[in-house]
């Protein structure tokens, strides 16, 4: 994840709008992919990114005062995702989850990983993406999600156990904390 420092605020409202647009256009690809890992479909991912940008723009002057706009945006995105999952508490029972992948070609691996991610509870999934995709530390992850470091550690362990179980031993070897 890029760790851009907050750019200085520029000029009046028109300049602020342009500054926000520049930032959003640059940040969109990364946020979109993170959102995709969180929710597993592009449409929802883009909804999450749009929500994130809306919240950022609403408070843009305050966002610019943050240490890192990227970190701020990431926090907004992940919390928007958790908010979304709170509203949509569909869960997949473990017995209904897909069988471990038998073959490892790209397409099947992709489906297997996505299916395995889908079995994770929302918070555990957010922890996995933050820790292993965004490369955040336990402390940074806890800060982004507004939970304790102990919660991050336990969620990480739980998520890895589920992924190992779902992805099978071969791929499971890739997973280590």
């Amino acid at each position: 994840m890029r760790t851009l420092k907050s750019p200085p605020a520029r000029g009046g409202p028109a300049e602020a709008r342009e500054q926000f647009r520049e930032y959003a256009v640059g940040a969109q690809p990364h946020l979109r992919r993170s959102a995709y890992l969180l929710c597993g479909d592009w449409h929802t991912a883009e909804d999450l990114v749009q929500t994130t940008f809306g919240r950022l723009f609403r408070s843009w002057p305050r966002v610019l005062r943050a240490d890192s706009v990227d970190a701020y945006a990431r926090t907004v995105l992940f919390r928007a995702y958790l908010d979304l999952k709170k509203k949509d508490r569909r869960t997949v029972a473990l017995e209904d989850a897909p069988e471990p992948a038998a073959r490892r070609d790209d397409a099947e691996l992709r489906l297997a990983v996505r299916s395995a991610l889908d079995t994770l509870p929302p918070r555990a999934r957010a922890v996995v993406v933050l820790r292993f995709w965004e490369d955040l530390t336990v402390e940074q992850t806890a800060d982004a999600l507004g939970v304790s470091t102990g919660t991050v550690k336990s969620q990480t362990a739980r998520a890895i156990a589920i992924l190992r179980q779902r992805l099978g031993a071969a791929v499971g070897e890739l997973i280590h904390d």
Binding site: R21, A24, L37, T51, G54, F57, R58, W133, L174
Partner: protein, 360 residues
């Protein structure tokens, strides 16, 4: 850790299979703009409410109705005014809205006055338009809607305006009414130097406290403004708050508007007083009637229909005009605090400024 990242990367489809990203920045900025305008309006409303509540704190604390309407939504459907002597389902409410309303005689007069009073909020708002227009900065226009809201159009879009009038919320900076003298009450000598009764200073030496039977000619004009929300059947606002608090204050302090509002409020109080001594129609067409507050049992609530208002008779009266419908009926006392609970003061609950105008 890198292995795990690689595993997660495998969840993505090949780049050529990724759908083109849609434009989320523009819609997000539009949403952010709308929310910021709403935030700003609500912040302004909160600040103004602090002022309003501060000005009327004593009145609230002592039970005066003049400021008790804070907190309601001006966009909500208007509740008809409740009369001082009316309870739920009183004779006027039930009998002046039935399918075949009385068309002549005392019952007709009663219902004419009753419905005119019921529609006071709407009529006052619509009649306020020319006065507000005259006090607006260049580039702004205001027009009526047939409701208790006006549409303000300015360079940046439109707002709802909710003009209203009610009792003076303060009397020389003090609460005009109280229920438990002497604590929290105002000596009339402080309030005006003489006892204030039946619409004005009596000329007598102050001798006591202002009670909740006070009827003071002074008024409070409130103009609520909203840049969001929707009032049924009326085009919603399209801009954040278009007028500053200072500009709103200038409008409420406009001498012609104060004169108009004072005249209309006096007319409303007169309607109240006339209704007190008039005979409500009965369900059978007889003019015999039960006392106020008695609910007739022969009329069901579902029988109500809209009753035409005659408020147009007076709503367009010009600045400084006197109201020809003011009767010589003897006021039996001022409106009690109950009349304010659903009164026009509620329209300023979201964002309003009030000022006391001196009618006399």
């Amino acid at each position: 850790m890198n292995d795990m990242r690689k595993l997660l990367s495998s969840a993505f489809p090949p780049p050529e299979d990724e759908p083109q990203p849609r434009d989320v920045v523009g819609p997000a900025m539009e949403w952010g703009d709308r929310r910021r305008r709403r935030d700003w309006t609500l912040t302004a409303a909160a600040a103004v409410m602090v002022l309003a509540i501060g000005a009327g704190a004593a009145a609230l604390g002592t039970g005066s109705g003049s400021t008790s309407a804070t907190g309601s939504d001006p966009l909500a459907p208007r509740t008809p005014r409740s009369f001082p002597l009316d309870g739920p389902g009183t004779a006027g409410t039930e009998l002046c809205n039935i399918q075949n309303p009385p068309t002549s005689g005392g019952a007709s007069d009663y219902c004419t006055a009753f419905n005119e009073a019921q529609n006071f909020d709407t009529a006052f708002a619509q009649g306020s338009a020319p006065y507000i227009q005259a006090a607006l900065p260049p580039g702004f226009t205001v027009q009526g809607t047939g409701n208790h809201a006006l549409i303000l159009t300015g360079p940046g879009g439109t707002n709802y305006l909710f003009p209203s009038v009610t009792f003076a919320s303060t009397l020389d900076g003090q609460a005009p009414a109280c229920r438990t003298p002497p604590e929290g009450c105002v000596q009339t000598s402080t309030a005006g130097g003489s006892v204030v009764v039946q619409g004005g200073p009596s000329g007598g030496q102050s001798a006591g406290y202002v009670k909740d039977q006070l009827k003071d000619p002074r008024i409070t004009i409130t103009i609520g403004i909203k840049g969001s929300g929707t009032l049924g059947g009326i085009q919603p606002p399209t801009a954040g708050q278009l007028l500053t608090n200072e500009q709103l204050l200038r409008i409420t302090g406009n001498a012609a508007f104060v004169q108009y509002a004072t005249t209309q409020w006096a007319h409303y109080l007169d309607l109240e007083n006339r209704l007190r001594v008039m005979t409500p129609p009965s369900a059978t067409g007889s003019t015999a009637h039960p006392p106020y507050g008695t609910v007739p049992t022969s009329i069901s609530a579902g029988d109500t229909v809209n009753w035409p208002t005659r408020s147009s008779d007076w709503q367009s009266s010009g600045p400084g005009s006197s109201d020809s419908q003011s009767s010589g009926s003897q006021p039996s006392g001022p409106g009690s605090s109950a009349s304010g609970s659903s009164g026009p003061g509620s329209s300023g609950s979201q964002s309003s400024l009030s000022t006391a105008g001196s009618g006399n």
